[in-house]
Amino acid sequence: MKQSKYKGWLYLLPAIIFLGVFMVYPLIDVIVYSFEEGYNFVSQTSTGTGLYNYRYVLHDTYFVQALKNTFVLVIITVPVSTGLALLISLALSSVKPLRNLFQTVYFLPYVTNTLAVGLVFMVLFKKTEYSDGMINLLIHFFGGSTVDFIDGPHWAKMLVMCIYTVWIVLPFKILILTSALASVKEDYYRAARVDGTRPSRIFFRITLPMISPMIFYLIITGFIGAFKAYSDEVALFGTDLNSAGMNTMVGYIYDMLYGNSGGYPSFASAAALILFAVVFTITCINLMVSRNNVHY
């Protein structure tokens, strides 16, 4: 028995070494960095330990801006994309002809490169010397005036950002939800039909609870994904997100490390830990809410 105990650890060793070197050690290092004050990257020395890094980051207007942007993005895109995906999946599972075609069309964004999609959005929204973009053409058609979506007011940029994010996360959610809907046994619906159940009641009392684990999964991963948004912003607004006012928390962390104003691992670490705390809190809240509403 004793021998088999060591054997088990031996089998786990490769994974433990890799995880230790590439995951656990960096994580601990980040925590250490975040408390080291006046850390010098070149001489690898610091002037002391304390909460200065956190205080600096929290008072940095760019950070506050990034925090606000991220929160807006999360609060708008997660419910909208999940709800929209549910609607589309319901529609998809209730039509028979052309279902495969629609499924393919809805899945296309998932296999398309982010930067290519960014280019398409440029055509739609960007104002250039030659055109105001497709959306502006539409706005003109309905009698509105030109809005500069990419370099204009903050709300317009935020709108584009949200549409972009929703659009990019939608395919995966539709894929998950259509298969979840398909896995609900036909007998449940037949039983409900014989009892004369209204469609709305069938949806809320049968369909929704039955696919609730999948919805919950999408919401959790959606929250985490939206909190970690960065590359989509770069695709739309370029690398200088701070001056565009469109930075996100991950973007801020990146800028602190490598950007033009970079070279501050301590500030980056502190920001990363704040992000971690936020995601952790939200996920905990999600788990608590789900306990009563998700049926496995």
Partner: protein
């Protein structure tokens, strides 16, 4: 509620698109189901039993024919307006709801004047729960129940609206043997207590025989025979019905009718008088033919054999299986269709059976004759 099916036919388009011909699941059904009875729809798998049930429930619409509940034509009525309760083979209990919520679910659909308060729903649910004996399980979820309990919940849910007709699709097939025996008695009791016309589907002839007031034997979408279980067992209308009912199954021999005597092989086993008194020419011709030699199928129920040293039918003995109350004698005969003849005799009569051959006398009431070509029953009297 009396139910009447009038030339009901259901076709499905063939899955294999190369074959244009439709699949006929139910072919020209006509039968009356009397009020307040327990009816068993019996047949091998794929014979259209479940489709028949779905047609009555309204989940499927017939291709042709009419369906009546009482005097009302319900053919075009959707399922929810027919007032039927339906129990599914796999129960289809909502896994996220408690037993109580499952049972009250149909009540929650009532609207307008019929709308019930929570307390009323609860009271009704408790009432049916008591009937099917699950009162103490109301707060549990389906996954915490045994198969038999789940089945009771499913029946309770089907019953809670007090439907005019209760339809059960293979209600016992998911239970183990002992539970099946117990639950089928429960089913009969529940049906008696409520007096609701109940139709259940089964492929298990024993199940259908034991509890039904009336059984409907089907095969390939066609009704073969409708009748009281004992009646269908004793007087099957054709070879299929005879073979399908009874365990062990009926023993079928190839025999010959010669001048009022039935021969199996060279042995004259029974003197018979055909009672085909139908006046039609066709039948008369047949009757005439019957006077000359006529090859027939002879079906003998396992309990139709009486061991008798002087008996006319001699079989070579294979083995004797003692089953306590009865003894099963396994033997062979050259004219037998199949491999072994299985006869059931009371254990006290089995004492003398030994050696190479066993001789039997036949009980005329347990013998059936079938036409060699049409496999229809040939009615006869023993002389």
């Amino acid at each position: 509620m009396k139910i009447k099916l009038d030339h009901v036919t259901k076709r499905f388009p063939n899955r294999n698109k190369k074959i244009r011909e439709d699949v006929i699941a139910v072919n020209d059904f006509t039968f009356d189901i009397p009020d307040g009875k327990l009816i068993g729809l019996l047949g091998p798998s794929g014979c259209g039993k479940s489709t028949t049930l779905n047609l009555i429930s309204g989940l499927e619409m017939p291709t042709a024919g009419r369906i009546y509940f009482g005097d009302t034509d319900v053919t075009d009525l959707p399922a929810e307006n027919r007032g039927v309760g339906l129990g599914f083979q796999h129960y289809a209990l909502y896994p996220h709801l408690t037993v109580l919520d499952n049972i009250t679910f149909p009540l929650g659909n009532l609207r307008g004047a019929e709308k019930l308060t929570k307390e009323q729903m609860r009271a009704k649910a408790m009432e049916v729960a008591k009937l099917v004996q699950i009162s103490e399980l109301m707060e549990r979820r389906p996954s915490e129940l045994s198969g038999g309990q789940q089945q009771r919940v499913a029946i309770a849910r089907a019953l809670v609206k007090m439907p005019s007709v209760l339809l059960l699709d293979e209600p016992l097939s998911n239970l183990d043997a002992r539970l099946r025996l117990q639950t089928r008695e429960e089913l009969a009791r529940i049906q008696k207590e409520t007096g609701i016309t109940t139709i259940f589907v089964t492929h298990d002839q024993e199940e259908a025989m034991s509890i039904s007031d009336l059984i409907v034997v089907m095969k390939d979408g066609v009704i073969h025979q409708i009748g009281k279980p004992q009646e269908v067992y004793d007087k099957p209308c054709n070879l299929f019905v005879a073979k399908f009912l009874g365990t062990p199954p009926i023993n079928v021999f190839e025999g010959t009718l010669k001048k009022g005597t039935l021969y199996i092989g060279d042995e004259a086993v029974l003197d018979v008088k055909l009672t085909e008194n139908d006046a039609s020419d066709d039948k008369k011709a047949k009757a005439k033919q019957a006077d000359s030699d006529r090859t027939v199928w002879v079906g003998i129920r396992p309990e139709g054999f009486v061991p008798d040293a002087e008996g006319p039918l001699s079989c070579s003995l294979s083995k004797i299986e003692v089953m306590g109350r009865d003894t099963s004698v396994v033997s062979t005969h050259p004219a037998f269709v199949g491999t072994t003849i299985r006869s059931i005799i009371p254990s006290e009569d089995a004492a003398g059976i030994e050696g190479e051959t066993v001789r039997f006398r036949l009980k005329p009431a347990k013998v059936c004759l079938f036409d060699h070509e049409t496999e229809e029953t040939i009615p006869f009297e023993a002389r």
